[in-house]
């Protein structure tokens, strides 16, 4: 009886906490179909008017396009770089391993406001109107530590003798990577890519500093319209 009670309390607690973590974010779905001009929940009525407005407004569609492009380039840069670094961290017998590992995780420890400010100052100092490419590079910096963490975790259980076997059988480095390594760590690679895309798609602070007034990305445009 007592054990039963304990068990139900545990389940109830974990369900309530998950609802607290998940439900509030889902509120935006009904809000998107609201007929109201104002932020009102529950909405007074439902329509697809806001979607029509979004897709008919070149500013919003442009922001969406820019965001998607920036996110794709962020993943294209950070995933290969992070993969190479993760491979090195697992394989290289070097004294540099520990300090470099800390170094590669550094962007996670510094608030983005500080990073964005520094980058903004640098572009002004160099008189370099970087625009979206600078945003891509900054997002790649933010994504790299997450990619490294995801892929080192995957490579830790990877059997490196398979690489030897492939090489002994005559496969080149490229062939070994594409037909032995990548298929095995594919799930982790997919996860890392997803994380890199999300990191970029949700980043508003640095993008505001660099392209806030000229070519805002979607989170920047959203942020500006909320605040």
């Amino acid at each position: 009886m007592k054990r039963q009670l304990l068990r139900s309390t545990r389940i109830a607690y974990s369900v309530v906490l998950i609802l607290f973590l998940v439900l509030p974010s889902l509120v935006v779905v009904p809000l998107a179909f609201s007929t109201s001009q104002f932020l009102q929940f529950p909405p007074p009525g439902y329509s697809t008017g806001w979607f029509r407005e979004f897709f008919n407004d070149p500013d919003w569609v442009g922001a969406l396009e820019r965001s998607v492009i920036v996110a794709i380039f962020t993943a294209v840069i950070s995933v290969p770089l992070g993969f190479a670094a993760a491979w090195w961290l697992i394989r290289a017998p070097s004294r540099l391993k520990r300090p470099l590992e800390t170094f590669l995780l550094l962007p996670m420890m510094i608030p983005v406001v500080v990073f964005g400010f520094g980058l903004y100052v640098l572009t002004l100092k160099l008189n370099f109107q970087g625009g979206l490419p600078v945003v891509v590079l900054s997002h790649a910096v933010l994504a790299t530590p997450l990619v490294v963490l995801t892929l080192t975790a995957a490579l830790r259980t990877f059997d490196f003798r398979l690489v030897n076997a492939s090489r002994i059988c005559g496969a080149g480095v490229g062939r070994t990577v594409t037909s032995v390594v990548l298929p095995i760590i594919f799930p982790a690679l997919g996860a890392a890519t997803l994380i890199a895309l999300m990191t970029s798609l949700d980043e508003a602070v640095i993008a505001t500093f660099i392209v806030g007034d000229t070519t805002p990305t979607l989170p920047v445009a959203m942020f500006n319209s909320i605040t």
Binding site: V27, V112, V113, T144, F160, N164, P219
Partner: protein, 294 residues
């Protein structure tokens, strides 16, 4: 994969994962170069430039750092940021700790659901979440109405208040706390708590003297992640919080964009970097100490 080559305990910080008969192509050492270069050029150079600005912007010297630490406005905001970050950390810990323990002790199936849900929330957009809280906590929002019906809380709601910021930041912090603590809970040998209770320890004593000490590394890791993230966070306090109740991230941004007082902005950013790095430094020292002791 049935073949296991990585020796037990081989981690990033451990000994090199050498396996008998593995040759290492020389090119391997170049692999870390591209990521390192990217970070150096795009991250380290701007950071150093900014640190330099805190002392080189006229009036040069320690003027800006002194102002950041002593001017009434900046002092209030620094103290407020530390207080809010501490409150968010404690609340996330109180909510996350039981959850991590439940996740570790439940059946594999239910555990997958619990941790899967936690993992999912990490992918939710922060801006969207902040916006959602604004709707929920507003004057006519459902949370406000519910609290009012229970004769709790204010009728005007918690949008644009510090309570709103704390609620939204806790929602952001709990998943990180849970994942950090879960990582240390799952390493606890299940025999240990059992041994304690067989020997007559009460449930509370087993928790206090067996489980809690073993969970401390995870608790420390989670608390530091949540504290440092909250301390410098910009988006959530800016959207959900009040403009008169600014946090340090907002102050930095304001000094740059509106006040164009780069010296003070850089000095505040320098302080924020120092505090963040100090927190992680302390954490690394603690884990190293712990490894040596065990």
């Amino acid at each position: 994969m049935s073949i296991q080559t990585a020796p037990a305990g081989t981690g990033l910080a451990g000994q090199p994962a050498t396996t008998a008969g593995t040759s290492r192509p020389r090119g391997v050492n170049l692999l870390v170069l591209p990521a390192t270069l990217l970070l150096l050029l795009v991250f380290v150079v701007p950071a150093i430039l900014m640190l330099a600005y805190s002392v080189t912007e006229p009036p040069a010297g320690l003027h800006h750092l002194h102002e950041a630490l002593t001017a009434p406005l900046t002092r209030t905001i620094l103290l407020r940021s530390v207080t809010v970050a501490a409150e968010v950390t404690v609340l996330s810990l109180l909510l996350g700790l039981p959850f991590a323990m439940i996740a570790a002790e439940t059946s594999a199936k239910y555990r997958a659901v619990l941790l899967g849900a936690i993992g999912c929330t990490l992918f939710f957009s922060v801006i969207v979440r902040a916006y959602a809280w604004l709707a929920l906590l507003g004057t006519n929002g459902p949370v406000t109405d519910a609290l009012h019906a229970l004769h709790l809380g204010s009728t005007t709601g918690y949008a644009h208040t510090r309570v709103g910021t704390i609620i939204a930041m806790v929602q952001y912090g709990v998943p990180y706390m849970v994942l950090a603590i879960y990582d240390s809970v799952r390493r606890i040998d299940p025999q240990l708590p059992k041994a304690a209770s067989v020997n007559g320890a009460s449930a509370f004593n087993t928790f206090r003297w067996v489980r809690l000490p073993l969970m401390l590394p995870g608790i420390a890791a989670g608390s530091i992640i949540v504290f440092v993230t909250t301390l410098g966070y910009y988006v959530i306090p800016q959207v959900v919080g009040s403009p008169t109740d600014m946090m340090i991230g907002q102050l930095i941004s304001q000094q740059i964009n509106q006040a164009t007082n780069w010296g003070l902005g850089a000095a505040l950013a320098t302080l924020l970097i120092l505090v963040s790095l100090a927190c992680f430094g302390i954490f690394r020292m603690l884990t190293r100490l712990e490894n040596r002791l065990s």
